[in-house]
Symmetry: C2
Amino acid sequence: MKPNFSLRLRVFNLNCWGIPYLSKHRADRVKRLGDFLNRESFDLALLEEVWSEQDFQYLRQKLLPAYPAAHYFRSGIIGSGLCVFSKHPIQEFTQHVFTLNGYPYMIHHGDWFCGKAVGLLVLHLGGLVLNAYVTHLHAEYNRQKDIYLAHRVAQAWELAQFIHHTSKKADVVLLCGDLNLHPKDLGCRLLKEWTGLHDAFLETRDFKGPEEGCTMVPENCYVNRQELEQFPLGIRIDYVLYKAVSGLYISCKTLRTTTGHEPHSGSPLSDHEALMATLCVRHSPPQHNPSPTHERSPLISVLREAWAELDQGMAQGRWWATIAGYVIGLGLLLLALLCALAAGGEIREVAVLLWTPSVGLVLGAGAFYLFHVQEAKGLCRARAELQHVLGRAREAQDLGPESQPALLLGQQEGDRAEEQ
Amino acid sequence: MKPNFSLRLRVFNLNCWGIPYLSKHRADRVKRLGDFLNRESFDLALLEEVWSEQDFQYLRQKLLPAYPAAHYFRSGIIGSGLCVFSKHPIQEFTQHVFTLNGYPYMIHHGDWFCGKAVGLLVLHLGGLVLNAYVTHLHAEYNRQKDIYLAHRVAQAWELAQFIHHTSKKADVVLLCGDLNLHPKDLGCRLLKEWTGLHDAFLETRDFKGPEEGCTMVPENCYVNRQELEQFPLGIRIDYVLYKAVSGLYISCKTLRTTTGHEPHSGSPLSDHEALMATLCVRHSPPQHNPSPTHERSPLISVLREAWAELDQGMAQGRWWATIAGYVIGLGLLLLALLCALAAGGEIREVAVLLWTPSVGLVLGAGAFYLFHVQEAKGLCRARAELQHVLGRAREAQDLGPESQPALLLGQQEGDRAEEQ
């Protein structure tokens, strides 16, 4: 790599709100999105909520000349909704489906059926290895009483771990997506602290878009204004995050966010706003590189907080499993009683009639039990990983600031610095 | 790292056959396993089928002085059954649960409930980064008519991809586990070809154990001899696989496999045989390093074969989903008919009696449909990843042998060689 090396990267991110039959003006919006992407010719366009594979195929055909590489991340029953279009060849791709993703019996929320995931693309640009990640975490339906909080924290942790373990050889890491997390939410802080990723909105000096960088704004005609009642300016839940290894310096030159209208025609492309970032990567002596800043206190405190949240979720999962266990027991007793009544000939018809609902009750409670046992195991797994990192962060704290990066980041940052 | 650097690594692997209430003499075998591991003091002991967390906790207590670090990989409803004990501190750990793992309605096989996974440990030994993986793939119940073949191939691919993407910064990669694959099975070849891992049994010059390195032998009193009818010597399905980056040379000095009896007391530790390998890592000029040997033809042909297998599995998954769709339709028709009959007053009792089983039929077929849609999506995802790699392998082939490692391995091997 030349000392005066510089790489410019134009990135687009949008949650497309592409639910077949339910999302308004879907076909028109997808068409306009395609036109817009063709006009702008980004290096990478990362999309979420492209639930229909037909929409992806339509875009793929339309964008083929400007974006020869594309991939649709399939998972779960409906899909992950994630896809990417790239001007540059995609060297490798893979994905990780989150272990926990809501409850199957919350059919009206539907997240469980989606198979929410993180997709990874490896690109080689100007001699650099770029790991680009695209993700979409579990939605937040009720901020005051969020029953999915533990799941979203576990997803943020899995996302952070996936990035941590798969990006050790990458020069530049980019994460785009709809995190369904406000900037100060636990999951967001956990992700940033553990991966060392920087927030384009907070880093750039040239931002144009809604106040506070909001990506769901009341000006957007597709947004349910009641949901934003508590946030008159809107909320910021879609992100462009990035980092570079020691020896490289990455900055966000400009960040543009749509303001409830499509830049050209005026109608919005989605209920979310699109993010358009111009990133610049250049060679820099290691001491000028501000990333990664693994300060001990914020990491330790956010790990502690996440630990407590997962622990509470685990207790709740186990509680539901116990309740289900009791219901199974009662259901079996009821079945035995009905058998006895039917055999005895008394109220025989009623007994026979009640037999099948009782079997249904036992089976339903059994499925409920199994689901919550699995939930508790998944949360326990994330908690164990987190606890291990917490232990090592504390060790690093005890050993003093010199040992921190090596201890915490598995020496990869240190090694990288030595190599360059 | 010094030029005369050398690292010796003693590794133990065993599928422990630890099914509560079902596996014979479980408590005694776990106790003896603990005694044996304490006596031998390996660097790493990687275990599969430790289904009961109590067994893990018992071993943890017992092995604490000799193996201060340990981890149990939780997943699924029952668990992954995987755990590790290490003499050296574990720097990091994480896991990946396989997307596909059998069918929930095959309750008597039980694999679906286990959450089969691959566990990763990162260790720092003598200045080297060691990535140790432990895994257990879906069991093979009928070799002649293996309904789980596509799932096992997809698991082997996910395992290979997980290793590929998480080990880019590792100096040494070690994979131990019960792959439920014979050495020449598609999944085994796919794994080896895509990761470049070497088989300790095939590489070592000093092997002591059953003929052909079998890890399930008829001499073992816990083995169901009927299952080995076609293989009089036994089968080899447990492995120690390894590789090192360019600049390092790894070899298997000795490999010992138990022969149906525990080395000291005579009674077997499990229905599988234990593998004990002594690996040696030393500094070596890049040209002497035999790994990784990504020859084009074997990789391309094995990728093609795996592609065809996944494609067939996908077609089957879709076929089942279609059948389930018809059953749902018929069930709904039946329900409508029953409603009409009940309303009409004719054979009212029969109609009411048939109502609940019909609802059960529709719900059951619905669950079956959703499961197989998800299965087809999972197989489609693996096939897409595989197809991409296949395309790039073909490109590499067309460009000639020089471009192969860089193109195929995302340049990490090439970069590594330049750095050293």
